[in-house]
Amino acid sequence: MTLDKKFLEYPQRQYGMDHRRYDWSMLSERPKVEWPNGKKLALWVNVCLQFFPINQQGKPFKVPGGMTMPYPDLRHYTLRDYGNRVGVFRFLKLFDKYNIKPTFTINTRLAERNQYLLDVIKERGDEIACHGLHMDALHYGGQNIDEERELIKKALGSLRELSGQDISGWLSPARSESENTPDLLAEQGIEYFSDWVNDDMPYSFNTKHGDLIAMPLSNELEDKFILMNNLHSENSYVEQICDAHDFLLEETNTHGGRILALNLHPWMLGQPHRIRKLEAVLDYITAQADTWSTTGHDLAKAFQ
């Protein structure tokens, strides 16, 4: 048994990263960040509003949370649709009660199909970011670049038109990217994106069309990850978010401003048996005077 000699060759074994997308940097060594008005901890609530087509193609993989049964998979289609009909309105009540300024990261196809919900968000004046075209329109390694450029153009163009907003933020469906995605996003006017989970603070991400800001939207603290992937209890979700909050707030005392980013799905936390757990979390966090609730866009601007 022998492998080709390339298995013992390491062409990228050098200082820094093994790619050119961003610079190597340790969080603990960076200058301290100060948030506006002397706030210590920024709370970024990002709500994913998603459309999972029932005629899912699954190319090149079945999106997690998507259809798993033979067509027509009514159970998963309707469970996800529940979030946009019912769950999200439970979220809105809580956001108003606790003065949360959320970002809504929307699949463009949902905005096209659901004018009512889009109008509600527009009227509130909340930030709208793009979550790709829909949950089955994936970006992936090896994707044809022209095809992907068209996909992004379609998603951003339509969402900009319908929302009347500039749309500076992006989260890929399933956080999946091709090797070209960051270049294409920058080319089409995106300023920040949140797919990469390698930091707790924003950092500069190189593209062929100028830098993007990579925003830290934790996957480990996502409702879907804790409840659906890890199968932890609702009470454990509350404990984990509160423990993260306490830890980050304490770290601000020695290391400067920090961000607690909560990525939420109304089809998950918007269920009747879970909504009070979100309330418990928001109640706990907003009780601290040092917390600043803001959007992804404003956070990226404040960081710059």
Partner: protein
């Protein structure tokens, strides 16, 4: 021809073993093994195991591991400093080239460096014996070059092994392996060169990545099982010294929602008397010097009986 057992050690029941006493009468040797790893974004694909589940770029898998290097290690380091624990680092040795700042921080603290291969995306599977020897020697030389000291321990990259792995590491000058999970005490390991070589318990049950990613447990439960594991080994250590290891990955345990429970467990353990807070190398050296021969004799006598 593959054999039905790995031929590395003899059966040695836990009952009635010669008594181990750790330095200063300690009942338990406690060590923490941070894995400081580098996963490549686009490694050559090994025909026996895929590094990533999807085509490059595997944004999720790659970026969360990078979190450990950018954010996690320094957080865990603050905790280990606070509780007087020196880490025993399981090192992807390419980190010496990519992120020498991390190596400096660990070296300043007199932490131990042991080899965990070059990259955690380069598996042992499929390598010829010569190729594996070359890879292991490269990792040993890299650690010596950057820290001034040869590594004593080995944990194969991504726990990928061959039939020669442990022999080859012993021949490269090593004295202990972390690859075997058959015991709660150090045990002699048979290597073809006949040198004194041991297995030091490095627990998969206490490993944060196994706990969080494979078993998907809650952060506070992880803290609790560490305490429970300690309690039992502490009591048994009165009869004969035990070893407890907590292997960590700072893209897991150093996330903000997990450190509090981990800290409570460290505080609990180091708050007990008669705990030898130490490193893998120190345990191996102490065992080889004081107990290796007794252990080997006991194993032999039980075989004859």
């Amino acid at each position: 021809m593959n054999q039905e057992d790995p031929q590395l050690y003899d059966y040695w029941p836990y009952q009635n073993r010669p008594k181990i006493e750790w330095p200063n009468g300690a009942k338990i040797a406690f060590w923490v093994a941070p894995n400081i790893e580098f996963y490549e974004l686009d490694p050559p694909e090994n025909p026996h195991r895929k590094p990533w589940p999807q085509a490059t770029p595997a944004v999720g898998g790659y970026s969360i591991r990078d979190y450990g290097n950018r954010v996690g290690h320094q957080r865990q380091m603050r905790l280990l400093d606070k509780y007087g624990i020196r880490g025993s680092i399981s090192l992807s040795t390419a980190i010496c080239d990519h992120h020498p700042e991390i190596i400096e921080l660990c070296a300043e603290r007199d932490w131990e460096f042991f080899s965990h291969g070059i990259y955690n995306t380069r598996y042992t599977y499929g390598l010829s014996e010569d190729q594996e020897r070359e890879m292991i020697q490269d990792s040993v030389d890299t650690i010596e070059k950057h820290t001034g000291k040869k590594p004593a321990g080995y944990l194969a990259p991504a726990l990928s092994h061959s039939d020669h792995t442990i022999d080859l590491f012993a021949e490269a000058g090593g004295t202990y392996t972390c690859d075997l999970f058959h015991d709660d005490q150090p045990t002699p390991v048979k290597v073809r060169s006949g040198k004194k070589f041991v297995s030091i318990p490095y627990s998969l049950e206490m490993n944060d990545t196994i706990a969080y990613v494979v078993n998907k447990i809650e952060p506070r439960r992880y803290g609790q099982i560490i305490k429970d594991n300690f309690d039992q080994l502490y009591v048994e250590g009165e009869e004969s010294g035990t070893v407890m290891c907590v292997p960590t990955h700072n893209y897991q345990v150093s996330c903000p929602h997990r450190l509090r429970a981990f800290e409570e467990a460290l505080e609990y353990i180091t708050g007990h008397p008669d705990v030898w807070v130490t490193t893998g190398r120190e345990i191996a050296d102490y065992f080889i010097e004081h107990y290796y021969d007794t252990a080997t004799e006991d194993i032999q006598s039980r075989k004859q009986a």
